[in-house]
Each structure stands twice: as C-alpha cells, then as structure tokens.
C-alpha cells in the first residue's frame, strides 16, 4: 500500500479545516490535495481534478505578473518550494479552470518532517482585490 507520509496526512487534515486556500504536493510535486477554499480560487472542485503531475498543474493555469507577462513556471512559489526546497512568495494573476482571472498572493513552503525528511510542499494562497 502506498500510504502518504504522516506529515502530509496531517497537513491535509489541517487544511481541510482552514478557510485559507491551500494546495499540497508530494516530493515530486504531484498535486495530492487542495482544500475547499482553494477550489474557489482554482475554479474546480478537487474531486473533479484528482492528483496531477507537477508539469500538468504548473503549466495548466495561466499565470501572469503585474505587467501581464506570463510567469515562468519555475518561478512559481510552490515550484520553488519543491525544486529548491526553500520558501518562496510572490503576487501574480492566476486564471483558474473556470476561466476567471484572480489576483493572488502565494507562499510556498517545503514540508520537512521528523528527522529532516522532505515529504512534500504546501502553498497557501491569499486572494487580493482584482483592481
């Protein structure tokens, strides 16, 4: 049985209770879960999305900076947390599955478990006024 790491299970349980949008990935960046608050930002229920490889979700959403230029996926905070195993933060515009553009602020954090094990990463979103 391929059971998730305990820290990831607990992260999912915690974020299930938060009103802050959150997005959890495994050590390879595969999307494991996003919470109900994130469903509103991403424009699709998690149950309809399921697990997605990093390349699928990193390229799947149109993400642009303040000037409208497309963001390099490698600069996305969660991708930085996965690939460089360090926290990252930035504001950008994100077009969700529903086609809506939303102004968001995102913090990506690597999840370092007991004994220093790298078990994945988590991103918290903050929605900003679209103006």
């Amino acid at each position: 049985m391929a059971q998730k790491e305990l820290e990831v299970i607990l992260a999912r349980q915690l974020t299930s209770y938060l009103s802050i949008p959150a997005f959890i990935v495994d050590p390879d960046g595969t999307l494991l879960f996003y919470n109900e608050a994130a469903e509103a930002v991403l424009g699709r229920r998690f149950g309809e999305t399921g697990e997605l490889a990093l390349a699928e979700w990193a390229n799947g959403f149109e993400q642009t900076d303040e000037s409208g230029a497309r963001l390099d996926p490698a600069d996305q905070p969660l991708v930085v947390a996965v690939t460089q195993r360090r926290p990252a933060h930035r504001q950008f515009w994100l077009r969700g599955f529903d086609g809506m553009r939303r102004h968001v602020e995102v913090t990506g954090l690597p999840l370092i478990g007991t004994g220093g094990r790298y078990v994945g990463a988590i991103a918290y979103f903050w929605t900003l006024p679209n103006a």
Binding site: Q3, L6, E7, I9, L10, Q13, L14, T114, G115
Partner: protein, 286 residues
C-alpha cells in the same frame, strides 16, 4: 509466535482488585518466536515481570519503543536483562528532529528521576532510531512508521513465518477526518497494519468519551474496529485501557465488539496469543 501481554493499561498504572483481570500495568507486550528470539514492545511497568520471566540464558533482546511518554518507558530501569552483564540489548525508538534517542532516554534514566544512568546499565546497549526502513530481527521482519499521536510516535509491524502482528498502542487515526475511515492511503498507520493476523491497537475510549478528548492521541473502540476493518486485520486486540476503567467496565465495553469477519478482544495482562498465520504477507522475509 507467542504474544504475551505484560501490561495493557494506558496513561498510568492502575493496580487494584478492580483491575485484576485485565491488569494494571502500563504498556508492554512480549513477542517470542519459535527459536526463542524475544522482542519486547514498549517498556511500561509491565516490563518488570517480562524481564523476570525471560530465561537467564538470554543473550539478546530487542526493545521496540513506540514513543517516550512515561507509560511506555517507566519500566526500563527495572528490566532485568538490562542489568545483566553479557546481554546484548537493542533499543529501538522514534527519531527526533532535535535530540538523539540517547539524549531523550537519558532525560529519564538519570538523576533526579532515576538513580541509574543509561550508560551505567550492565548490558551492552545499542540504540536505533526509527523509522529506518525495515530490519531483520531474528525471524522477524520489522518495520516502523510514524503514526498520529502527540510528540512523535511510531507503530511497528512484525512479520515472521509464524504470523504477523501490528502494534499501534497509542494512535488517533480519526483525528481531523470528517468521515472516518477514509481511504487507506490517507489513513495514518494503514500500511503498517495492512492484512495482519493480529492488530494490537489503542481503544482507550468509548464513543461517548472521544468527543471530549479529540487530539489527545487515542481512539475509541469503534474507531479501532473501523481501522481494523479498513486494513483487513483478522484479530483486533483493544489496548491502552483507560486507567479509570475497571474489569466490569471492560467486560461491558467488549461484550458485543466482535463481528463475523473480525474477532475483537480486550488485551488482558498475562494472556498469551499464538496467532495462526492466515495472511499472505511476507514483507520480504528471508
């Protein structure tokens, strides 16, 4: 394989006439293989009688600690093999991000809490931090994983040609799960307990008690049973009895606990289980 319950109580020892049948000693389970290899699961107060019952000729013993709460380590200093020259004692316990297992155990095994230091034990003691993948101990393939309980705890899975056992004495897999049990891959401890012949699992509370103790790291009997059914265990042994529960309470609690597919019994101090190997689990046995 013989599984001998030396201590079944959780949190605090509760000796007395009202707990004489199920026992008052805290967590300790002795596991003996046909070749006389001995594993000891946790070192609560029940470990004293375990040590006294082991043959004087014993030269190696492995103590598998799930975590370092007092009800799981308090008997360590009273375990005779640790005070016996020539014995090789391997103590396995959970890793920490900040302190070694030696440093954490030494907080208890040193004055003023205890007069004898870890380094002064007469046995040759070797410490191992888990999880560390799987390890072969005598005929047992042992694996450990972190499980849901405060302050970092592990559960153990033991598989031998004689049978399989999972030991999760302090475990709250239902914590934060809206509709427990969920899928096995999102359930704490599920991989450890998958398909075992005997599952020794935390069942400290009744369903009425659990809502007042959410987050304390323990399960109700019905949650333990749901977990056992989720992982396909054959026999659930409820463990970590609440110190405030007497023998009659436990009789009532377990009266109708079994189902046609799952045998459910309460751990009883002094009792021995010899599981029939019924699963196909091999876990890479050699």
């Amino acid at each position: 394989m013989k599984i001998i319950f030396r201590g079944t109580r959780g949190s605090l020892a509760a000796p007395g006439p009202e707990t004489a049948r199920y026992g008052g000693n805290t967590a300790c389970v002795e596991v003996r293989a046909a070749d006389n290899s001995v594993l000891v699961l946790d070192a609560g107060t029940g470990i004293r009688r375990c040590g006294a019952a082991l043959p004087a000729s014993l030269r190696r013993v492995d103590i598998l600690l799930t975590h370092l709460h007092m009800d799981h380590i308090q008997g360590l200093g009273f375990f005779r093999p640790l005070r016996t020259p020539g014995v090789e004692a391997h103590i396995w316990g959970p890793v920490s991000s900040t302190l070694s297992l030696h440093a954490r155990l030494s907080r208890y095994l040193s004055p003023p809490l205890f007069p004898v230091r870890l380094r002064d034990l007469e046995a040759k003691v070797e410490l191992h931090e888990v999880p560390c993948g799987s390890a072969q101990i005598g005929p047992f393939r042992m694996s450990a994983e972190l499980i849901c309980h405060p302050d970092a705890a592990v559960g153990y899975r033991l598989v031998s040609p004689e049978g399989s056992l999972a030991y999760l004495p302090d475990h709250e897999p239902a914590l934060g799960v809206r509709d427990f049990p969920g899928s096995p891959d999102w359930t704490s401890g599920a991989a450890l307990a998958e398909g075992v012949d005997v599952l020794i699992h935390d069942a400290q509370y009744t369903d009425a008690e659990y809502p007042k103790r959410v987050g304390w790291g323990h399960s109700s009997l019905s949650q333990a049973r749901a977990f056992a059914e989720l992982v396909g265990a054959r026999h659930l042994v409820g463990f970590h009895h609440d110190p405030g529960r007497d023998d009659d309470d436990l009789d009532r609690m377990y009266a109708d606990a079994s189902t046609p597919a799952l045998s459910v019994t309460a751990a009883r101090e002094g009792a021995t289980i010899s599981p029939e190997r019924t699963t196909a689990a091999t876990d890479g046995l050699r």
